[in-house]
Symmetry: C2
Subunit: 222 residues, 2 copies
DNA sequence: CCTACCGATCGGTAGG
DNA sequence: CCTACCGATCGGTAGG
């Protein structure tokens, strides 16, 4: 048998290729992410991560130092992944908006944000973040700003296109955006966090009502 | 030395008095509650609970069976304690309300609920509930109903006194109450859950804006 | 990079 | 009711 002959481009031993190393790194992070999000910090052992990622514990510790550091890397990576689709919100019309155009736009934006917020991945991320917030206090504020904060800023920019906040009673676009998001997410995000199955048929009506109330178009009949 | 002479009404040994037993039971539950809420389920060992409550582990296991059962008892007790002050909401006017009276009433109710929701005890309870929701799925729905659900029903009853929902665009008092609560809690409850210090000076303005938007009185200047 | 181990800690129980 | 222990599992490391 010839020693260390590559098959499918893989080395049979020795130092891995640079791209092979990068691939393993990514795979390790993916595996660790899935396990942490599914079973929490305490429920995921370094032994299990090593076994599932096809490496040994010493490699884990050589790369990340300790369990906390690996967990932090997983959280940062996950928040990045989660925040990315929100950039679609930035591709909204840049010109001024009439109120009549704002209503359907807010419905679309609201539905989009709600759908993004109740995916199993998003819920698992927020849950594990919540449960470990006490142990990683420096990160909670950062991630809250990258999550909720980023959405608020996007929506506030939208609102400024349609509303003259200097003449509004609220006078603060970010507060208004915050209230809009609160209306849209509300109970559904709480329930998702508790693992309660969400009644998807209620989403449409909730969004519609939320937008109407927000724009002062209901709920009291006129 | 005379054996087993009571001092301060306590027995020096043997079977405890009935009231003494009840007192120990309550003390044990209080101690376990504080530890579970401060350090989470995995972060609290039965050894630590036994030591802090001044008893031995065998007594713990004789009374509760295992750690899960003790944890469940703690959660139920805590949710009961938390839901009690909400009954004050039931002592609202029973007669019909004019819209003009509804605004200050909603401000008071909203502030009260928000204040109750961001106390350290309430936050800790929700956090530990969230982090263990996956392990205790049967309980999550029950406790959600006893918490958020109870508040929604209270507020819905209030709204029905002032609004004719059959002629409203929303047409559902519970959805309206749900949206009102969402507005009031919103970002602040999320931040509290993540352990982020809350800017208390922002509470007043948020409540006012929430009520105005909810009642269709803002935010667009008229 | 793997195996095998370290000390510590856990939930739960036997024995008296 | 207390002490002392059980097997299991953990995070992390030595040794080669």
């Amino acid at each position: 048998m010839a020693a260390a002959v590559a098959r499918d481009g893989k080395h049979a031993g020795g130092r891995p290729t640079r791209e092979e190393a990068a691939r393993r790194e990514e795979r390790l992070l993916d595996v660790a992410t899935a396990m942490f999000l599914d079973n929490g910090y305490d429920g995921t052992s370094m032994d299990a991560i090593a076994a599932a990622s096809g490496t040994g514990k010493p490699s884990l510790y050589a790369r990340y130092g300790d369990k906390r550091a690996l967990f932090l890397a997983v959280l940062r990576h996950s928040v990045d992944l989660w925040a990315r689709p929100l950039s679609e919100l930035g591709q909204c019309p840049q010109h001024a908006l009439r109120l009549a155009d704002l209503e359907p736009l807010l419905e679309r934006v609201g539905r989009h944000i709600l759908e993004c917020s109740i995916t199993p991945e998003s819920v698992a991320l927020k849950r594990v973040l919540t449960s470990q917030a006490g142990q990683f206090p420096e990160l909670a504020a950062t991630l809250q700003d990258a999550g909720w904060g980023a959405i608020v800023r996007h929506v506030a920019a939208l609102l400024r296109l349609a509303v003259d906040f200097e003449r509004s009673d609220v006078a603060d676009a970010e507060l208004a955006a915050d209230l809009f998001l609160s209306l849209v997410l509300g109970r559904l995000s709480h329930e998702a966090l508790l693992g309660i199955e969400i009644d998807r048929s209620a989403i449409g009506g909730r969004i519609t009502a939320a937008v109407k109330i927000f724009l002062g178009l209901g709920f009291v009949a006129r």
